[in-house]
């Protein structure tokens, strides 16, 4: 049994975490990870950790500056907006919307893209040609323009925003997965699976897809950052999240009018967007360095 005990740490070699740890990608970006986690906590905690209801107006405390500024109060740490709503509570609520839309878009777009990419790469032939031409078409359009066009056609609202985001991101997964599958397909263990008599579907799902998973994961994390920007942009332009829902992009747009008298209305949501996007990108880049040292992504 002593031999078993010794083998166990190395036995975790197939797990993502252990592989990443051994990968030589260096230390994980602690600050970025902390910010990402903070955002997840804010999104999940929502109302439970927010000091106020985010869209509750309080006309006795309009445009209160942050606590440390002159005229600020400890009751509103980051100040209040033009309707007396607590900025911190609104940021927390915005985190929820941002992560919800980004997460749903990445999950749905990823699933569609991975499925189509796997089919294209594994089946080849006409299936591949058709799928990849559609992918090329989607990737050729500037995504913000495409998003605006879809919103114009579909209308606003959280569900439609997610749909638009899926329409603009699935193609990238399809292209990545197809190229991964084409190269994994040529590896010896796939040939072994064939000569061992496994059925094509088993080979694709049990041997090819899991070996492409690390690359998909990296793209998904990087994509969260991209999705947050897209949602904020659409909301800022007024075609994304609509009041009374709260979004960082929307808050930025509303605060613009008061920029000269109340800087905190624009600085906090802007800072939140920048930090969130940078953090997800840093996390993704770190994972990429570990999983994809040749930089194919």
């Amino acid at each position: 049994m002593s031999a078993t005990a010794e083998e166990r740490p190395a036995g975790a070699g197939g797990l993502l975490g252990a592989r990443l740890w051994r990968s030589g990608a260096g230390r994980p970006p602690l600050l970025a990870t902390a910010i990402c986690l903070l955002m997840v906590v804010a999104a999940l905690g929502g109302g439970a950790i927010a000091p106020y209801v985010p869209d509750e107006a309080d006309f006795t405390a309009i445009l209160v500056p942050p606590a440390w500024a002159e005229g600020g109060s400890l009751a509103h740490l980051l100040g209040t907006d033009q309707l007396g709503r607590d900025m911190l509570s609104r940021l927390i609520a915005g985190a929820r919307i941002s992560l919800l839309t980004a997460g749903a878009a990445v999950l749905a777009g990823g699933t569609i893209g991975v499925t189509l990419g796997l089919a294209a790469g594994y089946l080849g032939g006409v299936v591949e040609a058709v799928i990849m031409r559609i992918v090329d078409a989607f990737l050729a359009l500037p995504f913000i323009l495409m998003a605006l066009a879809f919103v114009a056609a579909l209308g606003t609202g959280v569900g439609n925003i997610i749909l638009v985001m899926v329409l603009t991101n699935w193609a990238r997964y399809a292209r990545l997965v197809r190229s991964e599958v084409v190269s994994i397909k040529k590896r010896d263990f796939v040939l072994l699976a064939r000569v061992a008599g496994l059925r094509p579907r088993q080979i694709a799902l049990r041997h090819i897809l899991p070996n492409a998973l690390t690359s998909i994961l990296v793209l998904a994390v990087l994509d969260v950052g991209r999705a947050i920007i897209l949602e904020s942009s659409l909301s800022f332009l007024g075609v994304g999240i609509q009041p009374p829902d709260v979004s960082w992009g929307l808050a930025l747009a509303e605060g613009r009018t008061y920029m000269t008298v109340a800087w905190w209305l624009t600085v906090w949501p802007g800072l939140a967007i920048v930090l969130a996007v940078m953090s997800f990108n840093a996390l993704g880049d770190w994972m990429k360095a570990g999983f994809d040292p040749r930089g194919r992504l």
Partner: protein, 328 residues
């Protein structure tokens, strides 16, 4: 079941071409071979002589770009015309293969036990007669030490020899009627090559499987196989009982191949390479492909392709010289 004396595998007029149809590369040309149940056949030849391509054609794992013609009959079934689904049902169960490179042939994400169980599950599902026991028993049969530990390990934790044992175990889990081993020992240390080869003979003796072993290691063929096929530039040049071919090779290429094995004479290692180069498969001469390197070539050898001539019981050779009795 196949009747005794009825061949298990019959290959007739097999041609495999790659590349553009106007300028094809013929990897295998006019291959004929017959294999009886329980027989061990060795296929030898230099790299690029078509050995591996021939096996891939039997397993139907050639790339889609390959153009294949001819017949491959396995236990009365014509394999080349089977659908991929029907072929998948045969593979692993009746028809199995050990690949060349054990280092890369296991999926790095799963434990050995996991991968073995997957194959066993597939066998049982197909209603195959699975040899008793689970993954541990499979590993025990191929004499892997500490099988209980190995099933929990990942491929990267095993040495090449251990992995090759796993692969042999996997290929033989369902006691296949035909096992094809493509250079099963090439990637291994010389010291463990024999141990792997012994496994194939054990499989024949315990399960009655026929084995095709492809290698450029002539000594392995000599020790293991009943019959041997020598290939050169995509063609079979000589075929016969192993003992006879090694004792009295009839084709000049076979003789050169046997002569090129390192020998020790007066405490010195003698190396005798075959002069010249393997011809380009896309530009083969009209006559015998070996003529340019052959020490005893006749005029006919350069212009006309040699016909098959029988030179002993089940011993045939494709050579004008041998046919004329000159080189014998």
């Amino acid at each position: 079941m196949t009747l005794p004396n009825e061949p298990l595998l019959v290959v007739r007029g097999l041609n495999i071409e790659f590349g553009p149809p106007e300028r094809p590369v013929r990897a295998v040309a006019d291959a004929d071979l017959t294999l009886a149940p329980g027989e061990i056949l060795g296929i030898a030849g230099e790299s690029g002589s078509g050995k591996t391509t021939l096996c891939s054609a039997i397993m139907r794992t050639l790339p889609r770009s390959a153009r294949v013609s001819g017949r491959v009959e396995f236990a009365g079934k014509e394999l080349l015309s089977l659908s991929e689904r029907e072929m998948a049902r045969l593979r692993g169960r009746d028809l199995s293969m050990v690949l060349q490179n054990p280092m890369t042939s296991l999926d790095p994400l799963y434990t050995i036990g996991n991968q073995l169980e997957e194959v066993l599950r597939e066998r049982r599902r197909g209603g195959a007669e699975v040899r008793p026991g689970g993954a541990v028993e499979v590993l025990r049969r191929v004499h892997l030490t500490a099988p209980e530990l190995r099933v929990r390990q990942y491929p990267h934790q095993l040495s090449g020899g251990m992995r090759q044992r796993v692969l042999v175990g996997m290929a033989t889990a369902a006691a296949p009627r035909l096992l094809i081993a493509d250079e099963p020992t090439t990637a291994l240390d010389a010291s463990i090559q024999d141990e792997i080869l012994i496994l194939f003979r054990e499989l024949r003796d315990t399960a009655g499987s026929a084995v095709v072993i492809v290698t450029h290691d002539l000594s392995a063929i000599r020790r293991l196989s009943d019959r041997v096929i020598i290939m050169y530039a995509g063609r079979i040049v000589e075929e016969g009982p192993t003992a006879e071919v090694f004792r009295a090779p009839r084709h000049p290429y076979t003789r050169a191949l046997l002569g090129s094995l390192p020998r020790i004479e007066d405490e010195e290692v003698v190396l005798q390479p075959i002069p010249g180069q393997v011809p380009d498969l896309a530009r083969l001469p009209p006559g015998c492909a070996f003529a340019a390197r052959c020490p005893v070539a006749l005029d006919a050898c350069r212009t006309e392709r040699p016909q098959e001539s029988t030179v002993g019981e089940r011993h045939r050779v494709f050579c004008w010289q041998a046919a004329a009795g000159g080189a014998a």
